[in-house]
């Protein structure tokens, strides 16, 4: 105690007292103030929106406008929601490499953290579908595969093919193959309807049914081959081509071989 009082006139004493007082006030506040988690989240959220706005200005604004209002080169992003951003950017479709009938999937250049920031900014422009949590698209019930198969054939198979192999649309557009697509992105595509795909909102296809469809599509990737060559599971086109070229072609070759050679004992 003597030591302390001896130094009470030290030039830094006021600073030490001030720091102690601040620490005490902060500690007491932290201990007794009502836990306002939401407030803290909002702060993180607004930070993400700010960061997202910067990323948006660099990567997206040349087509979608500085505030996502859209231009002649890209649609307005007001109300598309965070699910659409997560899908488009995480699959590398956005930023688009070039304008055209279809924007193809390519390598993603953003980290998930940056994508979340971009999504936070776009979501702040207007309410829209929210990116799903893992629980929403992960199925735990094995019956979901069968139920999802029914739903897939009703809603998806017409464009994406009964085995999820994709197919052609009009004027250069196509429905991409679903092979190896992330469960989250399948879910988001159904939610938001990217490019020319129609959307399947929760009002007409509840969350549980989307989860079942995701389970079925993932199952398509994993199921063992029951035998033979799948030939891309494209149906009669590849099978017919294979039959004509390899089946009939081999038969014709054999017929020519049989007719062209006889086993003569050669003069020697």
């Amino acid at each position: 105690m003597k030591k302390l009082s001896a130094r009470r006139r030290h030039p830094l004493a006021a600073l030490v007292v001030l720091l102690l007082a601040l620490a005490a006030t902060g500690g007491l506040y932290a201990a007794f103030a009502p836990a306002e988690k939401a407030q803290a989240d909002t702060a993180a959220q607004s930070l993400a929106i700010d960061e997202g706005k910067k990323l948006f200005a660099v990567g997206c604004s040349s087509c979608h406008g500085l505030n996502g209002e859209g231009s002649s080169d890209g649609p307005s992003l007001v109300g598309v929601g965070s699910a659409a951003v997560d899908f488009q950017v995480a699959t590398g479709r956005m930023p688009a490499q070039q304008p055209g009938a279809q924007v193809p999937k390519k390598k993603n250049i953003y980290s998930q953290h940056e994508i979340d920031q971009l999504a936070a900014f776009v979501a702040s422009l207007g309410p829209g579908p929210v990116a799903p949590t893992e629980k929403q698209y992960t199925s735990t019930n094995p019956d979901d595969v069968a139920a999802g198969g029914e739903l897939f054939r009703t809603n998806c198979a017409q464009c994406h093919n009964f085995a999820g192999q994709g197919g052609a649309l009009t004027q250069g557009k196509y429905a991409p193959s679903l092979e190896g697509v992330d469960a989250k992105h399948i879910y988001e595509a159904m939610q938001t309807g990217p490019q020319n795909m129609p959307s399947f909102p929760d009002t007409t296809m509840p969350e549980e049914q989307k989860r079942q469809i995701v389970a079925f599509v993932r199952h398509l990737d994993e199921e063992p081959n029951p035998g033979g060559l799948t030939l891309g599971s494209l149906g009669p086109v590849t099978e017919g081509l294979f039959g004509w070229i390899f089946g009939l072609g081999v038969l014709i070759a054999v017929a020519i071989w049989v007719a062209a050679h006889t086993t003569k004992a050669r003069k020697s």
């Binding site: 017409q158 464009c159 649309l169 557009k173 063992p224």
Partner: protein, 351 residues
């Protein structure tokens, strides 16, 4: 054909004419017959015989193997086979044994024919197709005599009744075809939606959830499939019925709908079109939400749903029929009547 051009006039094989200065187009005849090893070497012949028999025996064994694997291998068993990956053991065994069994019969037969059956060259003469003049004159004479004796040209009644009876016989075939089933009558003109009337509208049921839908459930850019209320998947004739009743519901921002009549049939931009292509009746729902085009996967007929489902490409002859929809007092989407025209492909009576 003159006699001296026939191959046998050139004697046995090997004795052929050689083209000379005076006769540049001499007939070289058949090349000399060369015996096969099996023709001259009895041991080679025996060996070929054993090879052919071996192939037939392998075929027999493969058939036995086919039956055995059918009995022995569990249908659910999956095995890893190198180039094919994970395959069903049963399918693989059945395919392999049956393939070997058939291939060995064929290969054995070919080998037999090539090594052991006689391979002496035989010329087959080509004759003119028409008979010679004498035969033809004789046939014409006989025909004329027959015609005269039958009095076909003279007795007109017999001739006309014969023609009549011959013409009518094919009708019996038509009657037999008629036996295939009752005529469709007006079944092609109506769908399950004809139960709906303005007084008793029929709710639209979502194919996914099996529940009626409200207008706000359908958002712009979405695609929903619907069926009439009362049609259940367990029904005996569900498949026949849904093949006519299937609806696709799209919502297009009202300012984007080009066809006024089409907008009036819908409800606040929600349009209900038949899902059945008007070309040959494929289910058509490859809907592009930005262009509002619907594409048929069978023959690429393309319909512009924003313009009354007008055909903009492909072989379809009619726009897709549109169902008039509205909402009832509780806000659920309902149909107030059947399609104005038959759904699906063209048929003779279709207006």
């Amino acid at each position: 054909m003159s006699e001296d051009k026939l191959p046998e006039s050139h004697g046995s094989a090997g004795q052929h004419e050689v083209a000379t200065h005076g006769d540049p187009f001499a007939d070289p005849g058949l090349p000399a017959h060369e015996p096969r090893r099996t023709d001259i070497d009895e041991r080679a012949a025996k060996r070929a015989e054993r090879q052919v028999s071996l192939m037939f025996v392998v075929s027999m064994l493969a058939t036995v193997g086919f039956i055995a694997s059918y009995v022995a291998i569990d249908a659910d068993k999956i095995v890893y086979i190198f180039p094919l990956g994970h395959v069903s053991a049963l399918n693989f065994a059945l395919g392999l044994t049956l393939g070997v069994a058939l291939f060995c019969i064929g290969a054995g037969a070919v080998h037999w024919a090539r090594t052991l059956m006689s391979d002496h060259e035989l010329p087959a003469e080509r004759h003119p197709i028409e008979a010679d003049d004498e035969v033809r004159a004789d046939v014409i004479e006989q025909f004329k005599t027959g015609a005269a004796e039958s009095g076909f040209g003279r007795r007109k009644m017999i001739r006309n009744t014969l023609i009549g009876s011959m013409a009518l016989v094919p009708l019996s075939g038509v009657v037999l075809l008629r036996d295939l089933g009752p005529l469709p009558e007006d079944k092609l003109q109506h769908t399950g939606w004809d139960l709906a009337t303005p007084e008793h509208p029929l709710p639209l049921v979502n194919m996914n959830t099996n529940k009626p839908m409200k207008a706000e459930d359908i958002v712009v850019g979405s695609l929903t499939f619907a069926k009439p209320e009362g049609l259940e998947e367990d029904d005996e004739f569900f498949q026949q019925q849904i093949a006519k009743d299937a609806l696709m519901l799209v919502r297009i921002a009202p300012e984007n709908i080009k066809d006024k009549d089409s907008a009036e049939l819908g409800f606040e931009g929600i349009l209900a079109y038949s899902k059945i292509c008007t070309h040959v009746g494929c289910p058509i729902s490859l809907y592009e939400q930005q262009t509002h085009h619907a594409l048929c996967p069978c023959h690429q007929s393309t319909f512009d749903l924003a313009d009354g489902a007008r055909v903009i490409f492909g072989p379809a002859g009619h726009p897709l029929p549109q169902l008039k929809i509205t909402t009832n007092e509780e806000g659920f989407l309902v149909a107030t009547g059947d399609f104005a025209e038959p759904v699906g492909p063209s048929f003779w009576e279709r207006s």
